[in-house]
Symmetry: C2
DNA sequence: TTTTATTATCGTAATATTGCAATATTACGA
DNA sequence: TCGTAATATTGCAATATTACGATAATAAAA
């Protein structure tokens, strides 16, 4: 199979899983860290910084972007990515409330 | 390929990704929620509750267990799982510091 | 000891993910 | 307009994940 069964779970459960999936690959975690560390965002430095091919980095970027975590603006030829802090905090809060409620309901 | 390149990343980055991976599937999120909601843990109720086969649930349980998030004790024939709160909180803290440092370093 | 209930593991099929080379696209400058 | 730099997309190949039936292993009860 290989297909995750989403339909059998609640909306909240699927949401938590989708959020976690974004962070479930080291390249994407590294990209987010690098983007945030850079003053004013970065671009294809990620390829050199992280050591994966341009195609692969671009692919990971689109996953992160698809989750709504990025704001990209063009500066000349270069596209500069920046973290969408509101969305990022939303993710943080959703994960945190999962942790909190799970913890407090436990045996 | 299909192989994630872990060796090119820092320990901390790989750690965040590994933690997120545990929560990156709705069945595992559902399992954790059910386990925590039940007074005193549960066992194969998960199969009925969640609607996946016993083999699949057992597989997901071993992923969660492999991350150190479970404490299993036998009560007669039944094996009752319980959340390892210390480890769970460790995960929460690691993720939270990732969120915090990423956020505060951002442009 | 045999049966029964519960959980784990194995084998396998279907699908997803990861990574890269090659190629397209985009936007600027000459 | 053409060339060039930067990024995105496409098309694989390799590997991982998910799911389940079948089968083992385990532990209590008959």
């Amino acid at each position: 199979m290989g297909v995750s069964k989403f339909s059998i779970h609640t909306e909240n459960i699927n949401q938590i899983a989708s959020i976690a999936k974004v962070f479930a690959h080291p390249a994407r975690v590294a990209i987010l860290k690098h983007i945030s560390e850079q003053e004013g965002c970065i671009c294809n430095d990620l390829v050199e910084e992280i050591g994966l091919s341009q195609a692969t980095i671009s692919q990971h970027l689109s996953v992160i972007d698809g989750a709504g975590l990025l704001q990209g603006t063009y500066e000349g030829k270069k596209k500069c990515y920046c973290l969408n802090i509101e969305r990022f905090e939303e993710f943080q809060n959703l994960l945190n409330s999962f942790f909190l409620t799970t913890k407090s309901n436990c045996c």
